[in-house]
Symmetry: D3
Subunit: 173 residues, 6 copies
């Protein structure tokens, strides 16, 4: 049932949410934690579709929040697998917000979450490899190595001077 | 009412949560997004206590999840301000999980969230400065500069070769 | 900002939901009312995107539920405007369910909801007309008249013998 | 424990709900999907009381929403079995809304939901027959045949020209 | 609009709730706090119907929980005003639980909550007086004085030796 | 794993909650039932930590609510075991509310909840004894006998003239 290789388009997942009162603070702004929760759900569904297994969140890369999303706005989240590493998958999530009466729509933020696929006993199992198809998918597939090194360093599992891929990040463009 | 300088102990916040069925996946593991949501709430309360203002989440640093937290576990979250930068505050959150019948208790993970304090019109306002007191608080206060540079680089707002503080991270210990 | 004519593809909305414990009965089946609620939300978002206004549910056509959706399944809902009638819009929703570990995926059900677009004072306002593009959209656009007559009869607002369009339904194919 | 014949009064169920912020849109109107959800719950309880079994929703007949119900209103729902058909039961729900400070109270809408009773393995089991007692119960009991034919036609399981009972609906009163 | 005198039957309120997974602990027992929350809601609706005003909870008398209510049970709550004291009303709530497949039904517990009626500015306003009609209503009406003295003593607002009514409680029957 | 004697500080539990829209009535006041629910959760966690077992609520002593807590306020709850009686534990909860922009902070109320500790089959099991350490803990430990007699009388399980401890309550200070 699990193909050995899958493309990102086979598991892409879109989710739309209405910002309800309990999702907001007293200034009627969407709380960041609520958005992180939605991002986790849409990415978990993507990871489940890609792996055909239950998945658990292994890590979240840094996320920055820009313009406030308001009560009543429609939030659209889109999640795509960017690369699989044995039992784990890196998933990219983009978030847009749309205010209906004003017609304003803007990209709110984006993030990378990593998930591990598990069998019914909770043991990690191999996920299908990812075959990028578009140019953007190829670029994110390559960048995944660099982001993985940064995660390992930040988690104290790799020494910075071993992170050969990451050094590109610290050189001016 | 807002003192110009406050210590971390004036706004430290503890939250305990029971892991309920809706917080878990079908393997009875706490979903990562739910935990990110709780971390945001406890940190937002800390930021509100420190600044005496409503706060919004500006960013979340990378978070990694280790051992699974299970249905029925008690999750304890503790949040402390580590440094204030004009209108923003960096807040450190530590998460423990405890399984009552087995007596097992472990540190699940930790993270840094950044918040901006706002007045009633939603305009950023200056937060009180932080005066670290313990050795650990002093260490986190100093590390805050380095983490801030990493955030700016990851958000594309600073060039890596300008990040003088961050370079320490890439030198072997 | 409101164009006078819009195509269905301009407001199509997709929503994915994980079936959580509180959504199910003690046999672990998704409760019908929860699904009706999700269908209303995805259709309301579609209606808001089409009209650029806040919308309220005016009616739901009969819905039948087939095979049970289970705890942990991924539910995918897709909503499209089928026709606009002055201030109201008919919206078609299709629901699929997918069980990840087994790989089973099936169409659960479909329905038509009707919404009215409102201005900020709650007064009904004209919605853009719908211009169907595909063959299926054209067929649903035409059937909308018949369904509308059935709704009016069932609500006691039209006499059955005046329902010229509806009579087609009662003739053998 | 399951009597073969039961009256509607043995399983009539009343539910009162307060309209809370998360149940409303940005105009403070109760969302239709939330009401459909409550209607399903009260009707499911009625079906469980009548059958003494777990029940699942099989279908919902068309529902129209009239006057908006507002934030803070008290919603009263009353559900009664109208007829049993082997393993399924038709249940009628009436909804009232009451605004406390103004004292205004109105009937919001009504609907018919159909449920199937299941044993612990999820297999449909026979429900007790219904014995109507009042004149209104008798009228609804008789109309149930006609509504059932309409459901079968709309679900594509009966040809309109076979629906002998339903033809009465298409003749002027 | 507010009559000066009302009978208990004019505001009696019934609520039925299904015990869902999030309402239970890991032994599948309904958590006491959830039941206290439901009791507050049904009693608040009763208080609103009696007073025609928004109400807030002023106190809860001691409540004891007996036999455990289980996941999937139907909980029925019935609330009735027992006496009005100027701006406050004492409300009696009785709770039953029913397990559908087993057919077991039992009275779970009962309690007295007290509410204060408020105008739109949050200022306490006089509630209509209560006119008991049945023998049981008359008995509860009389006992209300004694319970009120106990509340005042327990809240430190009355000295025990002034509680003339309460002394009856401490004499053997 | 269960020590025979524990001090209150070994299981003290603090919980912080933000008052969200769904927790309030239309005057933006926190509903009493919601607070009773939070008090039950924090006390249940304390009882679980003290006994190392799952616990169920056995009773709640009378609670009075004073000043209204408002939307957006931070509610802090602290729970401590005051005495263990064989399989049951009395737990004291104190509640504070803090309004951030105004800086106002006040003690809202306090209460005693009683819990029973259960093994995995739901059978009551002995809880560790409590050893009070501070003067306040000693005073509450002694008062627990008196409160227990009042509970037994109110539940109809003890005759008032047998309540030797309770009589102290009815003598002027």
């Amino acid at each position: 049932m699990n193909n050995l290789v899958k493309s990102p388009s086979e598991s892409i997942t879109v989710m739309n949410e209405l910002v309800l009162p309990n999702d907001t603070n007293t200034l009627n702004n969407l709380m960041g934690g609520r958005l992180l929760h939605w991002m986790d759900i849409v990415a978990a569904i993507t990871g489940q579709k890609h792996s055909g297994k239950i998945v658990v969140t292994a890590s979240v890369d840094s996320v920055s929040f820009g313009k406030c999303i308001k009560l009543g706005d429609v939030v659209t989240l889109e999640a795509k697998v960017t690369r699989a590493f044995n039992t784990s998958m890196e998933i990219h999530i983009v978030v847009w917000a749309e205010n209906i009466p004003s017609g304003e729509k803007f990209k709110s933020n984006e993030a990378y979450y990593t998930f591990v696929s598990l069998d019914r006993n909770g043991t990690p199992v191999k996920a299908p490899e990812l075959k990028p198809e578009t140019e953007d998918e190829q670029k994110k597939f390559e960048g995944a190595l660099r982001r993985r090194q940064l995660r390992l360093i930040l988690a104290g599992k790799m020494k910075p001077d071993e992170a050969t891929e990451l050094k590109a990040l610290f050189l001016p463009d």
